[in-house]
Point group: none
Chain length 221, copies 2
């Protein structure tokens, strides 16, 4: 319980302002859940899960078109909060998304009903929700702008650069996975990657892209 309290104190900027009984309500109602890689843990029609604090792993938030095309909107990493599964608490948000665990993920969930009671006399708690959501929306807008406005080569380069700065030169993703992340078609990604390989920017092998020339890659972003 002490470990969990430390997590809340870290993740919730309003934690120290809560009354002791509000803190215990959150502590006692929260549950740790393990989501194996590949689990779709939230869908629009499933209603309101609550606020997820990620202990480890990674979530992906995405939308799906009528034709089944997916666009990844943003990712949530260990130590971060995912508030979109609590969108019922935010009446300003009518838009809905799907959430999938893309790694084995452990998360603490604070039930929406409990958080809702805290919100009633703590505007700071509601502010936390909307502020976190706005940060994500800001990311989403960025993604949308990439998809709408930018050339595919630039989008692939930006994606590879982000992966490179986060996890190093070897990017273990298929062309299809990259295409889904950037909201493009696999064929487009394959073309762009072949072009990058010819230019000596990356090398390609099965299920993996290795960045060879990071300066050239950065120049493309």
């Amino acid at each position: 319980m002490e470990e969990r309290e430390a997590l809340f104190a870290e993740a919730f900027p309003f934690w120290k302002d809560l009354a002791p009984q509000q803190q215990s309500a959150i502590l006692e109602s929260s549950v740790e859940i393990f989501y194996p890689k590949g689990t779709v843990l939230h869908r629009a029609e499933q209603g309101c899960k609550g606020i997820l604090l990620l202990c480890s792993g990674q979530l992906r938030t995405y939308i799906v078109s009528e034709e089944g095309r997916e666009v990844t909107l943003y990712r949530v990493h260990g130590g971060e909060a995912c508030v979109m599964a609590a969108s019922c608490l935010m009446d300003a948000i009518v838009f809905d998304v799907l959430i999938e665990a893309i790694e084995d993920t452990r998360a603490i969930t604070v039930p929406a009903a409990v958080f809702s009671r805290v919100i009633q006399d703590r505007p700071e708690a509601e502010l936390f929700l909307y502020k976190t959501a706005s940060e994500r929306f800001s990311d989403i807008m960025w993604t949308m702008q990439q998809i709408l406005f930018m050339g595919a080569d630039r989008r692939v380069a930006i994606f590879l650069w982000d992966e490179y700065t986060r996890g190093g030169a070897v990017i273990a993703l298929t062309h299809d996975e990259i295409a889904r992340y950037i909201g493009s078609a696999r064929e487009v990604v394959t073309k762009v990657l072949k072009y990058f390989a010819q230019e000596g920017i990356v090398s390609l092998s099965r299920g993996r892209v290795t960045v060879l020339d990071k300066e050239k890659l950065r120049a493309l972003t």
Copy 2:
């Protein structure tokens, strides 16, 4: 001044919770500005204007691609608040937009610096900003998803263009009928048609869509 106070009390849900000196700071620093139709009143690089409360008229918020292509994100009408010109107050928002008066517009502006001081001891004021921004983002996401990702606008445009070339500018069909023709939902068709009407492409009346700008319509197909 009394009229302005009534406007603030109506637009700001936190107004009644402010200390009298906070209310007077806002009242005394706010200015009424007239923006003739066509004025671009906010750009990313111009910094932070403040919070705009629209007395009359209409604003359009939009983004522009590198090639000059514009996408309208949402509109703000009389009686509503526009917070995107105060995005400097919201450090969670890194995304930026342009704002244009599309009608002659009168607006009361509360300077960012004054609002910033109120935020410091009133989380309700910051909540108002983020909540309003989230509402807009939620609209934007919907527009993006329908218009750009799902291709609903294209399908409606293609359908209208076919009808236009076959039977002339007046298309005597309900939204429900159009939805069934293109295999979509009535709500989606209604939203797309409203968007087209705002852009001056069509006009709408009961059971009828009239094509006003055939070039713009064709460009969408």
